[in-house]
Amino acid sequence: MSRLDARVVVRRAAFSLDVALSAEPGEVLAVLGPNGAGKSTLLGVLAGLLRPDAGHVRVGDVTVADPGSGVHVAPHQRGVGLLAQQALLFPHLSAVGNVAFGPRAHGVPRREAERRARELLAAVDATELADRRPAGMSGGQQQRVALARALAPGPGLLLLDEPLAALDVDATPAMRSLLRRVIRDAKQTALLVTHSALDALVLADRVVVLTGGRVVEQGSTRDVLGRPRSPFTARIAGLDLVPGTACPEGLRTADGTVVSGLRGGEALGPADGEPAVAVFPPAAVAVFADRPRGSPRNVLHVRLAAIEPHGDVVRLRAGAVPGGPGWVDGLAADVTPAAVADLAAEPGAELWFAVKATEVGIHAASR
């Protein structure tokens, strides 16, 4: 629950990183960027495993790195935790032993440390794993224990280094919502490095986009991903987002429109009335010149704002129709060039976007 304030400058022969970022106490900041953007270097500097050439890193009131005045606090004295792609649980310790490791290292008596470890294991739904060794756990189970372990010492800042990237597809949604719940409950200040727009959307309050060692975009997650301004963001985001609150059918927008969608299982999705976002890929959107009839789809009335060539397909950007809801602004539909010809659509034309409920995911969202 500490504030993060950092400016990190690292100069290497073929690469330089110069990034300023901050996160308020309890805020989750996502760092997105292509490979080689400098994300790992940034994490290394924040964790204390790398020394920056210039800048500063402050966690709470403590300056943990400041090359200008020669400050470099060792990784173990920083109070910066790490959850990486690989769980890296200590193979010789049980789950409880792993989670109690941090508190023990801080001098907490064994009994107390283990009590706290069991509490945290319960918080990550891993009570039944308490006495197992990592070798007897699945990848998803290991990652849950690793999360408990990273939280156990009560780090001022938690670094999440693509925490879902190495998991089986089946295990990812559960872990994603668990991460969200646990980090929110703990009001943990965190920095999430990821490739996935969905991860950022679900977990982060704000997004920083890094390319070539520089910040190219930043802002609230929905703004950055909903209206991508850099090619990288456009590529990875490339998703249609509709904000609202969760309702039994899916999501209700501020103006009362209901978007039907899948909530990803009772336990995982947002509760009714909670802030949520409906997410679907532009390729799943069908476009009609007239309102389609008798279909169970979500049908949205839009005005064509722009036509963008997008590789083999054409991306149609929506704008609001006069008097209609503003949230359709920016929605995209990917269609074939032939379809565009059939529609004879030009910017300014009114169209209908249709998307099946099974293509729409409803996710809990921040604020």
């Binding site: 204390g48 004295q77 490791f101 699945s138 990848g139 089986d168 089946d170």
Partner: protein
């Protein structure tokens, strides 16, 4: 939650597993290799004068040699751990310049004939040796012909076995776990004790067994540096060599004793890194 646990039992092979098979041609040299190791030992077993074996093994000379061998090999192995362990850590984790050169020096005893090692020890620690002369003059201590000389000779030849095997497992374990321990608040010392050491324990165990076995079999360096005297410096291999002069049956019986001890060491310790992982 519903994923299958990555339990060891799940990976254990069962009789239905066929694998991808082996090229048949491999069996010929493999069989020859096995025969080359197993048949001479079998020859030893067949050659033994079994009715006399108990008496030969219970002779005072044999019991003294066995006792001395176990004692010196034990002490030498402990020395290998105490000295070689930290050396392996330095070699695996150190950032000194010239580390590669250092490593090749450490490997020398693996390559050198042991008798050369014994002579080298003699020229260093013998009564007229580089250090030995000083020890004699300053403290009146001479090392050759003592049990300590046997221990030094064994440690000399066995040290690389422990260092190499431990260094290997330190490299395999990598620094990632140590980095995780640091982010959890563990100081480098604590991370080493609570994380690194337990991680490399299997490597340490196999290195220890190898070193102990090498100590037990040591001959050349011992005879050259320590001499041969019953109860003081005459270990089992030295007694085997001597008995061969007059009583081949005794030499064979003692050789079998060494085989039994060696098999017992391997069976009891069962170092995981030596055993094939299934």
């Amino acid at each position: 939650m519903t994923e299958a646990p990555r339990d060891a039992s799940a990976r254990r092979s069962d009789e239905h597993e066929t694998g991808v098979g082996l090229p048949r041609l491999l069996w010929v040299p493999a069989t020859l290799a096995f025969a080359l190791i197993a048949l001479p030992v079998l020859g030893l077993v067949l050659r033994a004068d079994w009715p006399r074996v108990p008496a030969l093994l219970l002779s005072e000379a044999a019991l003294d040699a066995l006792r001395l061998s176990l004692l010196t090999a034990g002490i030498s192995t402990a020395l290998c751990i105490v000295l070689g362990g930290p050396l392996a850590v330095v070699l695996a984790r150190g950032r000194l310049r010239g580390l590669r050169l250092l490593r090749s020096v450490v490997l020398l005893p693996l390559v050198l004939p042991p008798v050369v090692g014994g002579l080298a020890l003699l020229f260093l620690l013998g009564r007229t040796g580089l250090l030995g002369r000083g020890l004699d003059v300053a403290f009146g201590v001479t090392i050759p012909f003592t049990t300590a000389a046997v221990v030094l000779a064994q440690t000399f030849v066995a040290l690389p076995f422990l260092v190499v095997s431990l260094e290997g497992s330190l490299r395999t374990a990598g620094r990632r776990y140590e980095a995780v321990a640091a982010t959890l608040g563990a100081s480098p010392g604590l991370a080493f004790r609570r994380v690194t050491v337990p991680l490399v324990l299997p490597g340490l165990a196999s290195g220890t067994v190898l070193a102990f076995a090498r100590c037990l079999g040591e001959f050349g360096a011992t005879i050259a540096f320590a001499g041969s005297l019953q109860g003081t410096t005459r270990t089992l291999p030295l007694l085997v060599y001597l008995e061969r002069e007059t009583d081949v049956d005794a030499a064979v019986a003692l050789s079998l004793l060494l085989v039994v001890v060696a098999v017992a060491v391997i069976a009891v310790a069962r170092p995981r890194t030596i055993e094939v992982e299934r």
